[in-house]
């Protein structure tokens, strides 16, 4: 009758206790019998007889002890032999003999057999009795990552979001990504551009999840990884919460926006009513007309300075977002001609434009490039002499269109030229006679460089100054400019804002 492994110990304990008790009783009885014999038949006194029997007991215990231990530890010896055998111990390699029926009855044979079975079982790495499988480990890691993780499949559906990802459950159980991308640099546009690539990476900064003023607004930096695959994960987005870093800058922007708004109100009125006056007052003498013209020029300048300040503030906080589109330089400048011509006229300067309409198209943000051109021409006018000429040229230079604004005025010494594009820089000479914020050239440089171009100045004291800047030719950067999400719509940038071209917009 084979005994199962689990019953082995109880039985063994029982057997061993019984055996030891039996031995104890036997030996004590023997010692007691010897004492009785010595006292009754050998004539010894009880104390001596007792003493002799104790001595006899001690001798018996010592003699019997090894046999008891051998008996009790028999199973241990057998197991030891079995384990030594299967682990190829160099000294004891002979397996124990467990074939007798006695071993079968006590269950020792089953124990030994189990040892043999364990030893031959092949190493199984996916043992289901371990606590964490690799899958569970990865899942724990991604759930608790300190960044947001969003995975998209080849159909651009969201297949995974972790805890910190800015996403929510949509109405049809699908996940919706809660990120507001810029229309000119959207997630959809980037994914579209990845269609003919194997791999790509893209970084977006300052991507909010809600509009300003809404509760729970956070601002992220987002990194996208694309890797073409047949199925499974094709795109991964990692979102890093930068709300704390960006928050103070947003508050500063609010202050500047509010200040600009306050200032712009009266400017709107001044410019508008001046124009109405100019139109409605029919019988103005040329001198009176000049009064109105000067007022108009100054109020336009004021408006321009406010835009300068706003752009500088945005640029300094890396907020300056340009909407680069294909455009013709001649079209950009044409919009500026009325204002600039009036400025030149009121200050008695001659403005000449040499812009060929055969120039290739350029990639520009119309509104901010207008600011650059206005600022540079304004500078040319300011620093020219009475009756002086300001000449604007444009031509192709490698992959760029270069525009130069040349005046023949007072010029600048070399020491001034080096600092020209710094903020607030005014040389001591100009401070008294010429007005301005000192920000104009700084923002020109910022805008031109944000276009991917460069700006330079050459000046000879007493002879005049030439400013030049370059903007990229559209065809050289067309592929880098992602298609906007506009699709069918065409947004026409004017320098004061934008309007939709409904001829191309199908509702």
């Amino acid at each position: 009758m084979a005994i199962k492994i689990s019953q082995f110990y109880e039985r063994y304990k029982g057997d061993t206790i019984a055996a030891v008790m039996l031995a104890q009783v036997f030996m004590s009885s023997l010692a007691g019998a010897a004492a009785w014999y010595l006292w009754q038949y050998a004539g010894l006194d009880p104390l001596s007889a007792f003493t002799y029997s104790i001595v006899a007991l001690i001798v018996l215990q010592v003699a019997v002890a090894p046999f008891i231990v051998a008996f009790a530890s028999k199973p241990l010896k057998v197991l030891w032999q079995a384990i030594a055998h299967v682990s190829n111990d160099p000294v004891h390699t002979a397996p124990p003999n467990v074939n007798s029926s006695q071993y079968e009855k006590t269950g020792l044979r089953a124990l030994v057999q189990t040892v043999y079975d364990l030893a031959v079982r092949p190493k199984d790495s996916s043992n289901s009795s371990t606590n964490t499988t690799p899958t569970e480990l990865y899942q724990t890691m991604t759930e608790d990552l300190p960044v947001g993780l969003i995975a998209l499949d080849a159909k651009e559906d969201v297949i995974y979001v972790n805890n910190l990802a800015p996403a929510r459950q949509g109405t049809d159980q699908k996940h919706v990504i809660d990120l507001i991308f810029d229309n000119n640099d959207s997630l959809g546009a980037w994914l579209a551009s990845c269609q003919d690539k194997l791999r790509d990476t893209h970084v977006w900064r300052r991507v909010p999840n809600k509009l300003p003023g809404e509760d729970g607004r956070k601002v992220y930096d987002v990194i996208g990884y694309y890797r073409k695959s047949g199925n499974g994960v094709e795109t991964m987005l990692v979102t890093v919460d930068r709300t704390d870093e960006y928050a103070p800058q947003e508050e500063d922007m609010d202050f500047i926006a509010l200040a600009a708004h306050e200032l712009r109100g009266p400017i709107t009125v001044i410019r508008g009513y001046l124009e109405l006056l100019g139109q409605e007052l029919q019988s103005l003498s040329p001198e009176q007309q000049q009064l109105i013209d000067r007022l108009q020029v100054s109020s336009e300048r004021l408006s321009g300075y406010i835009n300068n300040i706003l752009n500088v503030s945005r640029y300094d906080r890396h907020h300056l977002k340009l909407h680069l589109q294909e455009d013709r330089l001649i079209d950009v400048v044409t919009l500026l001609i009325p204002d600039l011509a009036l400025r030149a006229k009121t200050q008695n300067r001659k403005l000449t434009l040499h812009i060929p309409d055969t120039l290739p198209t350029v990639a520009v943000d119309r509104s901010s490039l207008s600011e650059v051109i206005s600022n540079l021409i304004d500078n040319g006018i300011k620093y020219s002499h009475e009756g002086g000429e300001v000449i604007v040229n444009a031509n192709v230079k490698q992959n760029f269109v270069e525009v130069t604004v040349q005046d023949f005025g007072i010029g600048m010494p070399g020491s001034v030229v080096g600092n020209l594009f710094s903020k607030f820089y005014r040389s001591h000479r100009s401070r008294q006679t010429v007005s301005g914020t000192g920000l104009g050239l700084y923002i020109c440089k910022a805008i031109v460089e944000s276009h991917g171009g460069s700006i330079w100045v050459r000046s000879v004291e007493g002879e005049g100054t030439t400013f030049g800047f370059t903007v990229p030719i559209y065809s050289t950067v067309a592929d880098k400019l992602a298609e906007g999400d506009n699709g069918n719509e065409k947004i026409i940038d004017t320098k004061e804002g934008w309007i939709k071209n409904h001829a191309m917009f199908r509702r």
Binding site: D182, L211, P212, A260, G272, E496, G497, I499, H502
Partner: protein
């Protein structure tokens, strides 16, 4: 398309009268409304070819009005809506308007004559 009727929602008296004066002289019919709530009611009850919408209005912001007029459904499909503002909005809000408005202009950067030019360009579009 021809533009005949214009709704101008503008709370600044000087600015409102400046534009309506100029637009009237050009032959457009202009309704000048200083209150956002009233302006919204007017837009919903009367048919206007063009709605000029200020943003910083008391009681009801222009952004709210735009969302009401062109949120889930377009309640004024036959009107053009142009946002006229002096408030330098953050980029996200500006982008949000791009989908709903037909134009966006900074008042301090234009004059009445320039506004007329832009309106004419709308008329020339279709």
């Amino acid at each position: 398309m021809t533009i005949k009727t214009i709704l101008l929602i503008e709370d600044d008296l000087f600015i409102g009268e400046m534009y309506s004066r100029s637009l009237n002289r050009e032959g457009y019919q202009v309704d000048l409304i200083k209150d956002g709530q009233e302006g919204l009611q007017a837009a919903l009850s009367k048919q206007y070819d063009l709605i000029l919408l200020d943003v910083m209005l008391p009681e009801k912001r222009g952004t709210e009005i735009l969302t009401t007029l062109r949120g889930d459904e377009d309640k004024v499909p036959n009107s053009r809506i142009v946002v006229l503002t002096n408030f330098e909005q953050d980029d996200e809000s500006k982008m949000a308007m791009q989908s709903k408005a037909d134009g966006y202009l900074i008042k301090a950067d234009i004059t009445p004559r320039r506004l007329l030019e832009i309106i004419k360009s709308f008329e020339n579009q279709k």
